[in-house]
């Protein structure tokens, strides 16, 4: 009973928050509603018994990803209204058909999947974090290491892309000025001299 109440409450809250994110024309409303929706999604993970996943959802999504978006929005002009595009009706039609096919597949899926065997069954005597650790560091060790390398590459790419020339505004300079500066003296900008 309580599970049903919690499910419907958080489902309604999540749908409302993500609808605000998608429909609003203010970037700040969008990011705030997005962060709230992420926290509400972690409630589903706690209901489903995936405690570790819920904690990761709060820490990584609302802690790191949303903070990164908020940091990135400092660079952009967020006060003006976001302009919407006029969509091609053919694309909307194709995507609508795809979404309908997906709903049919979801309704059919439990019928097909009745004979699925659990590869890594959940043992009730150990906690969720312990079970996740045992499976992650035995069966999924190689994907785990590959994901670590991928995160390292993404971190270096982020530093290289965003960290350079923080003290210069390339928007206020002309195109030829930027090219001349890069050709003449590449180290000039990084030291921040004039």
């Amino acid at each position: 009973m309580f599970e049903a109440i919690a499910f419907y409450l958080f489902a309604a809250l999540t749908i409302v928050m993500f609808t605000i994110t998608v429909m609003t024309s203010q970037a700040l409303y969008a990011i705030t509603a997005m962060a709230a929706g992420m926290i509400f999604i972690s409630a589903f993970f706690f209901i489903l018994g995936a405690d570790f996943l819920g904690a990761i959802q709060i820490i990584v999504y609302t802690g790191a990803v949303m903070a990164l978006y908020a940091f990135g929005m400092m660079f952009f002009d967020t006060t003006r209204d976001v302009v919407e595009k006029r969509t091609n009706p053919r694309i909307v039609f194709v995507l609508g058909v795809l979404a309908a096919v997906m709903v049919v597949a979801i309704v059919v899926a439990p019928i097909v999947s009745n004979n699925i065997q659990a590869l890594y069954p959940i043992h009730p005597e150990v906690g969720n974090s312990q079970a996740v650790g045992m499976v992650l560091f035995t069966k999924y060790l190689v994907p785990f290491e590959v994901a670590a390398v991928m995160l390292l590459v993404a971190m270096i790419a982020g530093i290289v892309l965003a960290g350079k020339k923080m003290d210069k505004s390339l928007t206020l300079m002309a195109e030829e000025e930027i090219e001349m500066m890069q050709m003449n003296n590449p180290a000039h900008l990084e030291r921040g001299e004039h």
């Binding site: 999540t14 749908i15 998608v22 990164l68 979801i106 959940i122």
Partner: protein, 101 residues
């Protein structure tokens, strides 16, 4: 009144459809990134629900890797977006037409 797997899958579909609407109607690239985050979160809910109802931990593992991919996507995407904004002053999709054929 019991919550079954179908409830969670229908919720994931609704959230996925909301993200799809966002991808279709947004022109601002930052808003487009928000919509892709919604798409990834919808699949995460579906994975966690299947993991719970089948009694298998693989679904949660896939959800972890999806979170890692989303984090790296945000880092690289925002870096590129900042560089583009510094060069042009705009982050609208329609104005990225430098490669004219």
């Amino acid at each position: 009144m019991e919550i079954t797997l179908t409830h969670y899958l229908v919720l994931a579909t609704v959230l996925f459809a909301i993200g799809l609407i966002g991808v279709m109607r947004r022109k601002n690239l930052l808003m487009l990134f928000f919509a892709t985050e919604i798409l990834l979160n919808a699949t995460n809910i579906a994975f966690a629900a299947i993991s719970h109802y089948i009694g298998d931990l693989s679904g949660q593992m896939f959800a972890f890797f999806i979170i890692a991919i989303a984090a790296s996507e945000v880092a690289v995407g925002l870096g590129l977006l900042i560089v583009w904004y510094k060069r042009t002053g705009k982050i609208d999709l329609d104005q990225m037409t430098s490669m004219r054929g």
